[in-house]
Amino acid sequence: MKRLLCYLRDYRKEAICAPVFKILEASFELCVPLVVAAMIDNGIPNADRPYLWKMCLIMVLLGVVGLTSTLFAQFFAAKAATGFSAKLRHAMMAHIQKLSYTDLDRIGTSTLITRMTSDVNQVQNGVNLALRLLLRSPFIVFGAMIMAFTVDVKCALVFAAAIPLLSIVVFGIMLLTIPLYRKVQSQLDTVTDLTRENLTGFRVIRAFRKEADEIKRFCVQNEILMKMQNRVGSISALMNPLTYVILNGAVIALLYIGALRVDSGILSQGQVVALYNYLSQILVELIKLASLIITLTKTAACANRIADMLETGGCTETEPDMPELSEKGTVVFENVSLTYEGAGDASLTGISFSAKQGDVIGIIGGTGAGKSSLVNLIPRFYEPTSGTIRINGIDSRQFPKTELRARIGVVPQRAVLFKGTIRENLRWGNEHATDADFSEALRIAQAADVVASKPLGLEEPISENGSNLSGGQRQRLTIARALIRKPEILILDDSASALDYATDAALRKALRSIPDQPTVFLVSQRTASIRFADQILVLDDGELADIGTHDELLARCPIYQEIHYSQFPKGGAGN
């Protein structure tokens, strides 16, 4: 929690004013029993009607002043809390923008989204409540006790005994039940998982005729859940009766001692009534305080998670200055290895090759062979664990990321588009693209007919994640998005998988026709897609098994042969 306090700095004034006004209100509330006591002791015995009216007016005034100060308090608290969370959200979003791929792998996107939504909301709520109530409730509890002491010390000892007892019961039961409730929650998760399993796997369950078994499995967990709920429930059900007994025990003691003190003339009847009123105020506030503390524990947990996130990753190193470039579109790997953080084995070991401008480099290999890892190193999404990568003649680590990425067009494996129009999406590739650029990129990416088929053309809106387009359409648009920046290096990470063979072939042909030809990295599972590449890298379990043209590899590389013949059986039309 402390680590996040800096985001409250701009709202220091509000954060101080809120509790101050709250305490002001509480003090006025504490005065009320004294006024009532005065009415009983002075006004009624003397039949002093004007005095009684005056006291009544004071009570109303206390109410009005109390209301006004709360209004201020609520406003300041709301202002501080919302302002705080706005700053926090901004800081988090800015931080996320700076996370490296490695950080993103480690933290996970769903975690990031939870942090930015429900966790921040919880913290905002907690800050708001804390500013309003954290000081108020203890103030009333102890205030009431102090007021009691000013009335009569001996009677006040009853308070001094009752308050700790009540606190023990209220906080004790809460502390006892919190872990139990957590267990109930995780059991509920189990039941949820079972239900989800039955909903997503119904075809398989029915195919294997497991309906009755699944019902039995569910009922067992459901029963456990019910038992756990009842167990926690019976403990929390103790809270009200126990506090009721303690409080009224205190009332009995107070009345007994009070009676003796009145008899000996030390206390008045009105003062006994005042003490009785204070006692009832305490219980209400203690229960409020306990539930506030539960909320705040949750808040603190969320705040810690957020603070951890803000401290994780995010490259702080300064980027090098842009060096002089001697070459264009060349990529050289020198004995490059990559081990992902937290992984036991290397994903790439000792990869060396070089690509000239305009080369088409095919990359093929089984699942997990390291194809994507290899191309991800080129735009510095990941840094190699050892070895050197030279791009345009210089060590990629000396190449400022923004400059480097501006020269590379990436078409990721998953065709991702964003909410907006087609034009806006393509602009991601190049802010200043002209109409000619648009039609050129669309033509090469075989996406011209996608745009033409839309009533609004380039202005056609795209829904979130491009869900209103088919996989193939999305894929072609992402290719166009990469091409529109006229990249020196183009990376197609298995990007043609959603395209049918004919479109795939047309795309490859069009790529060849680009005037200022980029160096192309083509990752694929299909030998048909890469057979015309200048060089084909065959990856096997992170190692470069062989390198060569299609014909060379087909003649000598067993892995390549195996891949190829699994797709085109010997003697079939493939050869």
Partner: protein
């Protein structure tokens, strides 16, 4: 409105029916709450009486006070005991009701027709079974604990107050609803603020979802600054409406407290004036003041409970609507139990459509002999899955008939029909149990050797052995661990063990690399020996070796025959085939 009301009453009466089993417990808790309320309300009177016995120095009736204090002690203990019992009882009643709802729901899920499950989002059904049922429980629980006691407290307070002093009672009765109205007024005024806040929040969440999920793309295109800018704009709007919503809604408590303070002052002054004229004792006044404090509480509680109950009703209605869904038709009375089918499959004039307006398969005729291999090819979405759905009788044909071993599918028990089919689909569903249990799914009594043999045949044995717990590893989404390809291998092992007489294979090449796939392929070949097999084929070798190729497009079988005849036809199939090998 009236129909809505009657609907709600209907839902309510069904909820009560669910609680039927707990009738005597409900009655008991009702009686207990009566006792608890009466005694709670009697307490201020006893305290007031005690105060009246201590007028001033020397005027204190100690024996009477002690008598009253003992009375207070006893009634407090009884109240506490009944409060505790009420708590336990209402837990018991509501949790049992919810467990019952959930059990009915799972039975329903297993019995619904596949068409319902296919056309309804699983998330929606899930939220009905889990979250909605919880809301109903919360509503019921609050209803029990607070609704009755609340109403009884209000009535009881009124009675007790009337017995002490009528005019002051009237004053309290007239004034207290004020605080209630103030609260209602604020809630209704802030409603649209919360709505706006919710909308803005939803917008921001959607944006976050999209950009953070695709953060890698954002960075690849150097779009970080633009994203942050858009976000800040949304953030500013969200902050503004959150501030308004938070502030205005936080006015409720202070405002009602203020109204209560006014009531308190009014009771104080009228009570004091009455005491001056001797119409009420000091103890009576003190008693009134504590009633005035307490009286408004049940009003707020009941209004809270009403909202909760309304929610509970709405959600209960959602659950009931789900539970009311018609189940799939039962097997016909004298349905045939199919055992070890030969694998003779016949389609006669089969027509089928998911929605009546859009006919999909029309007049399909097929005759498949035992042991034949049928390859189904065609572009995505051409209806390959539909054929599988019909064979497994997940859906019934609209017209015509499909028969296995000479019996119409509808005249065979579902159970025995499915026992004769084995399938591997692209969706690799595994149960949250151990790997061994997953493989044994189709043959629960299989021995350990059989399980391992099947795993070996599916090329899954070596990776299973390398898992920390081997065959005992429990599959779960959280521990993850298994790649899509490995899951696929397990599904294949599952089928290898069961080995039913007919096979349905969706050759999902997407998740397994071609080398491993080729190894599995050889296992498939052995498995298909002598079994009628339906294969959704992506691979040339499978297609070429098939006895029958069905070429599907737009739901219909447009060409059928073997590879050579189809190539010779030079139709859709030939075009599809050639496009794979274009330069």
């Amino acid at each position: 409105m009236s129909t809505k009301l009657s609907d709600r009453m209907h839902t309510f009466s069904r909820l009560l029916k669910l609680l039927k089993g707990s009738k005597k417990w409900m009655l008991l808790s009702l009686l207990l709450s009566l006792a608890a309320v009466a005694l709670t309300l009697y307490l201020p009177i006893l305290v007031g009486d005690a105060i009246d016995f201590m007028i001033a120095a020397g005027q204190v009736d100690m024996p009477s006070i002690v008598r009253i204090l003992i009375l207070i002690g006893v009634s407090v203990c009884i109240t506490a005991l009944s409060q505790w019992l009420i708590g336990i009882l209402s837990n018991k009643i509501t949790y049992a009701a919810v467990a019952d709802i959930r059990e009915r729901a799972i039975r329903k899920i297993e019995a619904l027709p596949v068409s319902y499950l296919d056309s309804h989002a699983s998330g929606d059904i899930l939220s009905r079974v889990i979250a909605d049922a919880d809301t109903v429980a919360d509503g019921l629980l609050l209803g029990f604990t607070q609704f009755f006691t609340g109403i009884m407290t209000i009535l009881g307070t009124l009675l007790f107050m009337l017995s002490i002093h009528i005019p002051i009672t009237l004053l309290v009765v007239v004034m207290t609803p004020l605080s209630f109205f103030v609260a209602k007024f604020i809630v209704s005024k802030t409603y649209h603020l919360f709505q706006k806040q919710g909308d803005t929040r939803a917008e921001q969440t959607a944006f976050l979802n999209e950009t953070i999920t695709n953060q890698r793309v954002v960075q690849a295109f150097g779009h970080e600054d633009e994203v942050l800018e858009t976000f800040d704009d949304m953030n500013a709007r969200l902050t503004e409406c959150t501030l308004k919503a938070t502030f205005f809604s936080s006015l409720t408590n202070p405002s009602t407290r203020f109204v209560n303070a006014l009531v308190y002052a009014a009771v104080g002054i009228t009570g004091a004036l009455a005491a001056v004229s001797g119409n009420i004792s000091i103890g009576g006044l003190s008693c009134f003041l504590s009633y005035a404090n307490q009286y408004t509480k049940p009003f707020h509680e009941i209004s809270g409970v009403m909202t909760e109950l309304q929610n509970a009703m709405a959600y209960a209605d959602r659950i009931f609507r789900f539970l009311d869904q018609p189940e799939r038709p039962a097997d016909i009375p004298d349905a045939r139990v199919l055992e070890d089918a030969d694998g003779n499959v016949c389609f006669e004039d089969v027509s089928f459509s998911y929605v009546p307006e859009r006919p999909l398969i029309t007049d399909c005729n097929l005759r498949i002999l035992p042991g034949q291999r049928v390859a189904i090819v065609g572009p995505t979405g051409c209806g390959k899955t539909t054929l599988m759905n019909l064979l497994m009788r997940f859906y019934d044909v609209t017209d015509g008939s499909i028969s296995v071993d000479g019996s119409d599918l509808r005249e065979i028990t579902r159970d025995s029909l499915r026992k004769n089919f084995g399938m591997v689909l692209q969706e690799t569903w595994l149960s949250g149990a151990s790997i061994r249990d997953n493989i044994r799914m189709g043959k629960p009594d299989a021995s350990e050797e059989e399980v391992i043999a099947a795993a070996k045949a599916a090329h899954a044995h070596s990776f299973i052995r390398r898992l920390p717990q081997g065959y005992d590893t429990v599959i779960s989404d959280k521990t993850g661990g298994l790649s899509q390809g490995q899951r696929q291998l397990l599904c294949i092992a599952r089928l290898m063990l069961a080995l039913p007489p007919m096979l349905i294979l969706d050759e999902a090449t997407s998740s397994i690399d071609t080398r491993t796939e080729q190894k599995i392929q050889s296992a498939f070949q052995t498995m298909m020996q002598g079994r009628t097999s339906f294969i959704v084929a992506h691979r040339l070798s499978t297609i070429q070796q098939a006895d029958l190729i069905l070429v599907m497009n737009n739901g219909n079988i447009i060409e059928q025959g073997n590879h050579d005849t189809l190539i010779a036809q030079n139709g859709f199939y030939a075009k599809l085939f050639q496009s794979q090998f274009a330069p």
